[in-house]
Amino acid sequence: MTQSFLQIKGLTKNFGGLRAVNDVTFSMERNQVLGLIGPNGAGKTTLLRLITGILKPDAGHVCFMGKEIVGRKTWDIVNMGIACTFQNMRPFRRLPIIANVMVSCLSPRAMKRGEWVKRLEAKAMDALEFAGISDMAREKASTLSQGDLKRLEVARAVATEPELLLLDEPFGGLSPAETDLMAKSIRRLHKGGRFGRLHSEGPAMIIVEHKLQWLMKIVDRIIVLNFGNMIADGTPDEIVKDPRVIEAYLGKGDT
């Protein structure tokens, strides 16, 4: 039996009496870009947090490249090659932007893969260059706008040179022009290659997003969650026609 790149089996998480993620099972391949959608409170962010080990699941397994990662520490998981961004951005506000990214460059994974890079700062700079905020590298992170903070989140995740990138609402709060830019960077990243001293493996991605028309252009598969249950799984075209998805978003009856 061939091992899938990422395999999630029966993942369940309760918050008190609320079942936030209920028995979610799917697997994805190395070259996929997966969209994760669903109404508010459907458990999308919780699912990402379970994968990165920020939250511990109550039941179920997550296998990444054939290894069980449930129960591992977050930093171990990141060093195995899963990077994530936060929906409500969490920069180190009082540090310069370059220092924000240098923290990621100091992780064992980034250090091992960039041995030939003598200067961390140069590598961090290239991550910022990729995200398009290198001209503000010396500013404090607290001075950044919403859109630039989103890009800082991406730069920070990319600096660990991940194999799987979990993006939590990368377009949230961005203007249409900024969204275009961000979508372009994401596609460029998925193609892989070198950005200066930074090497991109062309990571697989899971993207949580509400702006569906943008998401459709990037992803090649979509999973829909509602009240913690997986209600649909398919290509973007199949998903928009799926009656269960329309019901979850718009309610029953008047279609």
């Binding site: 930093w75 936060f86 009082r94 540090l95 100091l106 992780s107």
Partner: protein, 346 residues
């Protein structure tokens, strides 16, 4: 000969291009020189004693800043490290017969152990909970000290331990040189890659974890480093006073450190050091009005913190230096353009 000339020229150019351009650096150099030259001008034992104690407490205040200022792990029981350093140095000297140059570093290592012992249970705690928990540890140790009076001397402490060195001047030089050395090391640590991670842990620990950094390891590192430096200052204190008593573990000792650090400005290292050099001699000076001593001390601290909430030395530094808005390099406040990128200041 050519080699000596080369290094002289290099030294000269460093002084000219790196030190003289910024008043804060000039002040630091003058501070070093002043401390190293004091005994040439005065042999007054009282004055030397004040400066020796000031240096010892400066190490302590700076080590608190390393842990609580930089890493954000609020430690309200910093006297624990000081006391452990003092008691281990005293015990090793009295019962082990080890001379001060051995007991002081070993006392520091003892405090590292204490740092790990309180660091491990405190890993999951944050903010006020961490502060309250750390507050308890020196009190627990004080209870242990009183519980075994035949080893620790109980209330009287361990007295009659070896002197730090032969004379007051030698004591002074040991304390000052160790202080200058350790504070430089601490400043270098905070300026290094590890320092960036310490800063980041203070800002947002979860985000550091998702950047792939083992935060447990770095927090324990901060606890042990801070404990080591504080333990060394405790060991020197014990040998200088020739007694290690329960006063080193008192709650007031822990808070004294916090007051010093916040007065001078946290997250700077130089702030707490400078603050001790202002406040400790001030406290001695106020002995002239013995009854009002504490009241006046409190008034000074309150006034400074009211008008300079970032600390005295931060405030002074911002008065004499400006940051270039473009390249973020500091310039003397009298300049109109940045010395590096020639952008207009202000």
């Amino acid at each position: 000969m050519a080699l000596i000339l080369f290094y002289l020229r290099k030294l000269f150019s460093v002084i000219k291009n790196e030190v003289l351009v910024l008043p804060s650096r000039v002040v630091v150099v003058l501070f070093f020189l002043f401390l190293l030259l004091v005994p040439l001008f005065t042999k007054d034992t009282y004055l030397l004693r004040i400066f020796t104690l000031t240096s010892i407490f400066a190490i302590l205040a700076a080590s608190w800043d390393l842990l609580s200022g930089f890493t954000g792990q609020m430690n309200f029981g910093h006297a624990l490290f000081f006391g452990v350093g003092a008691y281990s140095a005293a015990l090793l000297n009295k019962y082990g017969g080890i001379p001060p140059w051995g007991t002081v570093p070993l006392g520091g290592l003892g405090a590292v152990l204490a740092g790990l012992i309180i660091g491990i249970p405190c890993l999951r705690l944050r903010g006020t909970y961490l502060a309250l928990t750390t507050l308890a540890f020196p009190i627990i140790l004080m209870g242990l000290v009183f519980a075994f009076p035949n080893i620790t001397g109980g209330e009287l402490g361990i007295s009659g331990i070896a002197r730090l060195a032969g004379s007051r001047v030698a004591d002074y030089y040991i304390a000052v040189v160790v202080m200058l050395g350790l504070c430089t090391i601490m400043w270098k640590i905070t300026d290094s890659k590890t320092g960036i991670i310490f800063h980041a842990i203070r800002e947002d620990e979860l985000a550091v974890r998702t950047s792939g950094i083992n935060t447990t390891r770095y927090k324990l590192l901060a606890f042990s480093l801070s404990g080591f430096f504080a333990g060394i200052s405790g060991g020197i204190y014990a040998h200088f006073m020739r007694i290690a008593g329960p006063s080193t573990l008192e709650v007031s000792m822990s808070f004294q450190v916090v007051i010093w650090a916040i007065f001078g400005g946290i997250v700077t290292i130089y702030g707490p050091v400078g603050a001790v050099f202002v406040l400790f001699p001030l406290m001695e000076f106020l002995r002239f009005w013995q009854e009002y001593r504490i009241l006046m001390f409190a008034a000074v601290v309150l006034l400074i913190l009211l008008y300079m909430p970032d600390g005295l030395f931060r405030w002074l530094r911002d008065k004499i230096e400006k940051e270039c808005p473009r390249c973020k390099i500091r310039n003397i406040a009298t300049r109109d353009t940045c010395r590096i990128c020639t952008a207009s200041l202000d």
